[in-house]
Symmetry: C2
Subunit: 695 residues, 2 copies
């Protein structure tokens, strides 16, 4: 990917035209090769000989930057193909994002690209940058000339690309490459990831995404790559409405955010919500080691900022542990007497270079801290530059250090000294907490074993038979005993289940099962049974059973449901926690496994976790632990902890079921009673929906 000659097709000398700006950027950024303007009319542009078409260029051409109006792009692409151009960057907009005609045109140029074995970036993009001294290619129409660095950046929005490059310049962040991929007709974010995974000039990868073309491929690449090179993503379309805005703009529907969230969690990608956070994190990743843990030591010369820092650390789930006796002794030797030595370590306003250097050195070497936050508010009595130099002297290369310099304008010399010595500087302490939280989560991902997807021995044929019978009878929904049989076939235990059509029958069933029992309406017509009160719990005698049967009969009438009543009877499961597991199908991401606590936790609190199928054993445990109501499973107020083995086991078996039967559109195991080890956890009810097109 080191072009030696570039044709700018649509180059022009019209002031403020994109074609001119790209040409100028290539030249002024000193591209290490030849640049050929292509323009139908002009024979010279920017004092460079221009050609009417790429075919007229005497030399070979590696790369073409295409800026011509959309109706000419296809023609130009064909010429490029004939010329033997290897790659095209199509800046021109008005394709997939601009309605039906555009979609058609985009298909056309993609076919041409494929036909001539070219690769294409765009259309509808901002261009590409390669800062490699041997290349020095700025093929964008932006106003910034990015500095050299180890960060690669791919963006789906040209505007954000430019905005981020400008901000990066302000902060002195350098790039290895920048690619605005626009509509991603050919080259996608995944392609860039694959390239950078082998690019020795790239250590960190930044992405701005609005949607995923091939999320499953993204997981495959990112899961491995993120263990070697941090991948930081701003994914917009977090909210349903944001997603709609995204789709109307990029011409492809933005994936639901739960799917995206699951994808990032499962592939170790670091997600940030805002562009600010992207920078806060990037300067840290680019300059500092990733902390080994969550324990942070704070050094300050002012109380207020230290309190704000502590607040933000704690609220982000980090820790500010006390200073060990050993460290206290060391500090006491070096610091003025009478100073209150605790964490945050407040050196008070008088503190100068001497105190800061000592504090930095000792705190950085202390075993009780994984990261250090030096905070400095320049009092007039102290020279900030001196303090900065002292901090640098006291710095430990092995311990994450993020500094806060307050009350000085960002440009100040003190700040520059720290930055030049790769100590990231934040203007206010709160951003540091958020940044460290992301870093430590990433650390935990790095330390976590990859985990694997177990293969269980199951009775697949039983499920196939049931599914087939429903497909044949054109019934899309499997509930009741059939549903539970499917789960049993995959080794997911279920509660005993008998069906009765009369009070008498019900009583004898109850006899077999043993009191107390639960009675439910067993009718596909009624889904959310509880809504019509179709479930009666804890029946303890024949009398209660017949009473219940009559009650349900009345319900049917009341709800105008035809046909004779049949009820199901199950033994009443007590002393377990009601959980829910299931599968929901995302058009882009495929099946997602869902887990949560039963009833209102799912419906009201929306306290559920999703993972993209298939699950690894690690993922199964992880998704159980990540629901807020997790403490309930661990046991609360005397109640025993549920068996996590049984729970994760059931999830993994469900995951295998979903792999084996793509016919399922939706699965709902609700409730799955999770019981303590020894007692049998089991599914009480389940519901399967078959794909419309299935069979």
């Amino acid at each position: 990917m080191r072009p030696r000659s570039i044709a700018v097709i649509g180059a022009s000398s019209t002031k403020n035209s994109i074609g001119r700006q790209i040409l100028r950027n290539l030249i002024l950024y000193e591209f290490q090769g030849k640049v050929f303007p292509v323009n139908l009319k002009a024979d010279v542009i920017q004092s460079i000989k221009a050609y009417p078409s790429v075919l007229d260029i005497p030399d070979p051409v590696d790369l073409a930057i295409v800026v011509v109006p959309r109706q000419y792009v296809a023609k130009v692409a064909t010429q490029c193909g004939k010329k033997g151009v290897k790659g095209m960057v199509v800046i021109t907009a008005g394709f997939k994002e601009a309605g039906r005609t555009g979609v058609q045109m985009e298909k056309e140029i993609l076919e041409i690209t494929r036909k001539y074995k070219m690769r294409m970036i765009g259309p509808n993009c901002f261009g590409v940058v390669n800062t490699d001294p041997a290349v020095r290619m700025n093929a964008t129409f932006g106003k910034t000339f990015p500095g050299r660095g180890k960060i690669a950046f791919v963006t789906q929005s040209g505007a954000l690309g430019e905005a981020i490059m400008v901000k990066a310049e302000e902060l002195g962040i350098g790039f290895s490459m920048v690619a605005s991929v626009g509509n991603k007709a050919d080259i996608s974010g995944n392609d860039m990831l694959e390239y950078w995974s082998h690019d020795s000039d790239t250590d960190i990868i930044l992405m701005y995404l609005e949607n995923f073309g091939n999320p499953r491929k993204f997981i495959k690449i990112a899961r491995e790559l993120s263990r070697r090179k941090p991948i930081v993503v701003v994914k917009s379309g977090r909210t349903a409405q944001g997603a709609r805005a995204a789709s109307s703009h990029t011409g492809s529907l933005a994936g639901m955010d739960i799917s995206a969230e699951a994808l990032f969690v499962q592939s170790g990608v670091i997600r940030v919500d805002t562009v600010e956070a992207l920078f806060d994190l990037t300067v840290a990743l680019a300059n500092q080691p990733i902390p080994k843990g969550r324990r942070v030591g704070i050094i300050t010369n002012a109380g207020g900022p230290a309190i704000l820092a502590t607040d933000s650390l704690i609220s982000q789930g980090l820790e500010a542990p006390p200073i060990s006796e050993k460290t206290k002794k060391k500090l006491a030797e070096k610091l003025p007497p009478g100073l209150n030595i605790s964490n945050p370590l407040d050196l008070i306003a008088g503190a100068g270079p001497k105190e800061f250097e000592a504090a930095m050195r000792i705190m950085s070497s202390a075993k009780e801290f994984d990261a250090i936050i030096p905070i400095f508010v320049p009092p007039i009595t102290v020279d900030p530059k001196e303090v900065s130099r002292a901090m640098v002297r006291g710095l430990s290369k092995t311990k994450t250090t993020l500094a806060c310099f307050m009350g000085v304008t960002t440009g100040s010399e003190g700040v520059s000294i720290l930055r030049e010595n790769s100590i990231p500087v934040y203007q206010f302490p709160e951003a540091i907490g958020k940044t460290l939280e992301r870093l430590t989560n990433y650390r935990e991902w790095l330390d976590r074993p990859t985990g694997q997807t177990p293969k269980f021995k199951v009775k697949k044929s039983i499920v196939s038979a049931i599914v087939k019978s429903y497909q044949d009878s054109d019934c899309a929904e499997i509930i009741g005993s059939d549903a539970l049989t499917i789960l049993e076939a995959y080794g997911i235990p279920t509660a005993g289940y008998l069906v009765a059509d009369s009070a008498q029958e019900a009583i004898s069933c109850a006899g077999q099962i043993g009191y107390p029992v639960v009675m439910k309406i067993d009718s596909p017509k009624i889904l959310h049974k509880t809504e019509v009160g179709g479930v009666i719990l804890d029946l303890r005698s024949a009398e209660e059973i017949s009473a219940a049967f009559e009650k349900l009969q009345a319900k049917l009438v009341k709800n105008k449901i035809k046909g004779a009543l049949s009820v199901s009877l199950q033994s009443m499961v007590k002393g377990g926690v009601e959980t829910v597991m299931g599968m929901t199908y995302d058009p882009t991401f495929g099946p997602l496994i869902m887990f949560g606590l039963g009833g209102i936790y799912v419906e009201v609190m929306k306290d559920v976790s999703f993972r993209i199928n298939p699950l690894t054993d690690m993922a199964a445990i992880d998704m159980i632990k990540s629901v807020k109501s997790y403490p309930l499973l661990k046991g609360f107020r005397g109640s025993k902890s549920v068996s996590f083995e049984a729970l994760s086991g059931a999830l993994l078996r469900l995951s295998q079921l979903v792999v084996d039967f793509p016919q399922f559109q939706e699965i709902d195991v609700n409730p799955f009673m999770s019981c303590p080890a020894g007692k049998r956890s089991r599914a009480v009810d389940a519901r399967f929906i078959l794909q419309k097109d299935a069979g």
Copy 2:
């Protein structure tokens, strides 16, 4: 508060000394009066005649800035008193924040201040600023000379004061006054609020707080003032550990955050978590009207940023409604054909001044929007300055407008043009969502009726008697029937309650109450009954009762609890939602009323709301609505909504009980079964703890 002459006691000519800096600041900022340096030795400082003591100054002195070492402050204060100085600003540190001696010294200088009827700011502070052209007093040792504006700012941390003034200068925010109140020995934040409430030069009040001296007074002042002038607070010590850090630094324990949070909610104070958010909000308040609602229209020339903006709006609970047909028509007339007219309104990259002006004018006048967010990412083809001017022309003074200018360094002319025309500019769109959320919450506070605290007819004497009897018998805990009697006396309905000492008795009680019943161990020794399984629900027959009685007897033995078993019997309340209400006592804030949903919601999810007592009717409703599990009360899955009248009624009666009986340290009404209107909501169990010192 217009000093005509100031003495700087401890003024000096030593370079970088605080005494010198303050003197210089006063002079260079051109204080509109006389400045007298006071220094024991020097007879001239900064070319100004100096005096050995304030008493030697020939002219009268209004204000003294004190910078002498702490051991001389008392002496100096006495001299000031004798001289007839009206106010002192004590910069000197080393008092309450620095251990026992300091506390003593602070007490001493406070007494002197009182004795001579002076007022004092500090000690341990950064100084004060008054930008009034008739005063022009910069009595700080900072490096900034704040510009004139309508914002008053009081800070408990000098360091943050300086930091915030520097940042404000960057953003062109001006102040009316700045006061660093340090240890607040005499003049507190409350005093400043009272002053500014009548100060016509102050429209907005900013506070940095670490703790409250007199929170009840704060509520009284702020509740009224915040309806006329927005009060924006950064309160640090949000986390327990942050609070500890705060206490170790300011020498007074930082109030628990739940109390602070309740206080802000109840007094209409706008709380922000970070200093960045403080500025984001302040520039909006200072330049724009407060939006009338949550409906936001977005105008952009780039898709990506608009999606980020939409995300942040929606996730902050704001709305981005569709554009009305009427508005669409107007836009279609003015905008290029083929443009997709929806919200966000993407004018696409080509858009220039003409498009932006039209879009701004039409969207701003559209009834369907309460606020407008113009987003601009300068493409090389358009001049940002022109677009800025166009935005200004299209601006409606009556509709909140917050702009996002991306990819241009903050200083750029385009941005300046907007700022000069009081359109706040944000570098990235995410901050705008957070800002609008705060603004709309504030609007809702402004629109909400104040509400009042009803006075119920109650049987106070009954409660007095019970309380007395427990105090006499030195028993700090009231549970069981006595507890429920107290509630009844205040008109809070309770579940029928009978006590029995034998299975036989229990059976006859159940007979009186009517099956099904609940049986509980009625023994003070066992608090969390459910933990030892001391509660048996839903007993339906004599057999089940005697079985239950034996079971509980066994429990007692198992838990080695001496004495004969006595049990309470209550009718089983069905079809209600288990809620909890109570009171907890905060040493600084006094009694807080608590509300939440029963069991795990309180214990695990910590889903509870607090309000400072006494409650208004508005506050009672508000605290019910503010728990996350609120949907459960409104009725979920067929279940009816509970009676909010009964619920808020109970809370208000509890509030009155707490006012009438300061002897209570803690109250726990758990559960209070909230039932639908018609069915009787009632307390099932309650527990009162008496103050140690009470009686």
